[in-house]
């Protein structure tokens, strides 16, 4: 019997990197996702393929909602479409009871087409075309205005609708977190928000109903939410006092982090990222401290990534193995930055589909594009991978399947593991017609001889 073959290696020891144990314990391999072997996904849908889990989405949502609603009686949640607007994903969350939070006419229409009533839509964002405002007001959607010009635009839309409509305002503030997202909404600190309210209170067409903020995304410090809640409640008091307006809802946006490893953070996300309960505590406890029970407004959260990020994976395949001139090991895989916009911010978890022996090396994962920037992972610690190895990247559920682009290659299929263990395709891989369909080639350009 011959011995098992392990790929040869030799490595020079250099100061600062003489720590085999730093990493050999890091052997990550996974043969399945929720019991379904990795190979089955690629057999059925090709490679690469995004995989989402119905079970994880529901579990994450329920965990957040039940904790939030157990602390604050009028807790509401609205699904942030931009985070993942696949029909199947939105529908799961609508089944769970989330309304829709949209930031464009496209997202608005998508929510409507999935069957969300207009008055169950929150319409946010710094740019809302006039027509879409008219539709939103007609449908009775919750519209949060971003700037003075938009107040004027909203008046114009309300005039067209022919009734006085309810609006909210988006505000920003210093919560001790840098950088401050000051470009969205009206600043609380220099009275910008107060002046906006004053302007709305004089309007014949608008009626102020709520205050919205979204202090940033992937927030690391729950205390920022304490600050936000305090400042928004103070603003609410001041408004109610000065203008005899009753604020019926507060909306604190999203921004809770997921277990993803932000570039530039040192500690693993299990340690660096605080549990989501701490963020909800920050919101709910501060609300309970600041408010008397008879003044509880509806309070919305628009949590996106914290619900869906960990419910997603991308399976991709090693197509070629390359050693760069400087000695660095690299692999070409079939998924690149065209699909993985978020690779600019995160060092994903990289797992392989089998146990492999051999020396672990810091390796680069390149995508399939002919672009120098197509780097999926700058430094993944991997044993030597043979061609055909499947690479599983995670977490993938947030912002990839929306921010991906059709560039150079078709976009791949998205599969969902259903709660009962069945596997469903929730978006098929693209075909030529999907891309050429909207195009027109003028007649005189149709002919050529080569």
């Amino acid at each position: 019997m011959k011995k098992e073959y392990i790929k040869p290696y030799i490595k020079r020891q250099s100061a600062g990197v003489m720590n085999k144990f730093g990493v050999t314990y890091n052997k990550g391999h996974r043969e399945d996702i929720e019991g379904i072997p990795i190979g089955r996904f690629t057999d059925e849908f090709g490679s690469p393929v995004f995989v989402l889990s119905e079970k994880v989405i529901r579990e994450r949502y329920r965990k957040i909602y039940s904790y939030f609603s157990s602390k604050y009686p009028k807790a509401k949640m609205s699904w942030s479409y931009k985070t993942n607007y696949l029909g199947a994903v939105c529908s799961i969350l609508h089944q769970e009871g989330e309304t829709a939070e949209v930031v464009s006419d496209f997202e608005y229409e998508k929510a409507r087409s999935l069957g969300v009533p207009g008055n169950r839509i929150i319409y946010n964002g710094p740019y809302k075309p006039l027509d879409s405002l008219v539709t939103a007001f007609t449908d009775g959607a919750m519209v949060n205005l971003d700037n003075f010009d938009e107040i004027i635009k909203a008046e114009e839309a309300a005039k067209k609708v022919g009734k006085k409509v309810s609006v909210g305002i988006r505000v920003n503030m210093d919560t001790g977190v840098y950088p401050q997202w000051s470009r969205f909404g009206f600043p609380i600190e220099n009275n910008g928000a107060f002046n906006a309210v004053k302007r709305i209170s004089h309007s014949e067409h608008l009626h102020l109903e709520g205050i919205h903020c979204h202090i940033g995304t992937f927030m690391m410090d729950p205390n920022a939410y304490k600050e936000a809640v305090k400042k928004v409640v103070q603003l609410m008091r001041k408004i109610e006092h000065e203008f005899e307006i009753t604020i019926s809802y507060l909306d604190f946006g999203g921004g809770f982090p997921s277990n993803n490893k932000l570039k530039g953070t040192y500690l693993p996300p299990e340690v660096a990222v605080q549990p989501v309960e701490n963020f909800i505590d920050a919101v709910a406890d501060t609300l309970l401290d600041e408010l008397a029970p008879d003044e509880y407004p509806d309070v919305y959260l628009e949590t996106g990534r914290a619900i869906v990020d960990e419910a997603g994976w991308l399976i991709s395949t090693v197509d070629a193995v390359k050693r760069l001139p400087d000695g660095t090991k690299s692999y070409i895989i079939d998924a690149g930055v065209n699909l993985l916009y978020t690779s600019a911010w995160y060092n994903y978890k990289v797992e392989i589909d089998r146990e492999l022996h051999g020396a672990y090396e810091n390796s680069i994962l390149y995508g399939p594009l002919c672009m120098n920037i197509d780097v999926v992972a700058e430094s993944a610690f991997l044993p030597p991978l043979p061609k055909g190895t499947r690479i599983i990247l995670s977490p993938m559920g947030a912002y990839n399947v929306t921010q991906w682009m059709q560039f150079i290659r078709y976009r791949p299929a998205v599969a969902m593991i259903m709660e009962d263990g069945k596997l469903e395709q929730i978006r098929r891989a693209e075909k030529l017609e999907d891309i050429t369909g909207p195009e027109f080639v003028p007649d005189k350009l149709r002919k050529f001889n080569l």
Partner: protein, 81 residues
């Protein structure tokens, strides 16, 4: 022809630890790596090394060919050959 003089002075330990007394560099290698290194040191050509490896281990011709090349590339990177 590969220059193998530098290989001859290496102190190779069974643990996979390799010390170069001339440059002061140290290296680590696994069993397969050590085997190739010993064979190179003994003046064997790549073909002979390949068959020696395939005699001892369960592996395909293609894989071993690429791996030996890769290993030698690494040695070149370290100026050992």
């Amino acid at each position: 022809m590969m220059d193998r003089d530098k290989l001859s002075v290496l102190a190779i330990s069974d643990s996979g630890f390799i010390f170069d007394p001339v440059t002061g560099h140290s290296y680590t290698a696994n069993a397969t790596g050590l085997k190739i290194l010993e064979l190179l040191k003994a003046g064997k050509e790549e073909d002979e090394i390949k068959s020696a490896i395939m005699d001892e281990f369960e592996a395909s011709d293609d894989e071993v060919t690429v791996d030996i090349q890769d290993f030698v590339e690494n040695l070149k990177k370290y100026f050992l050959v």
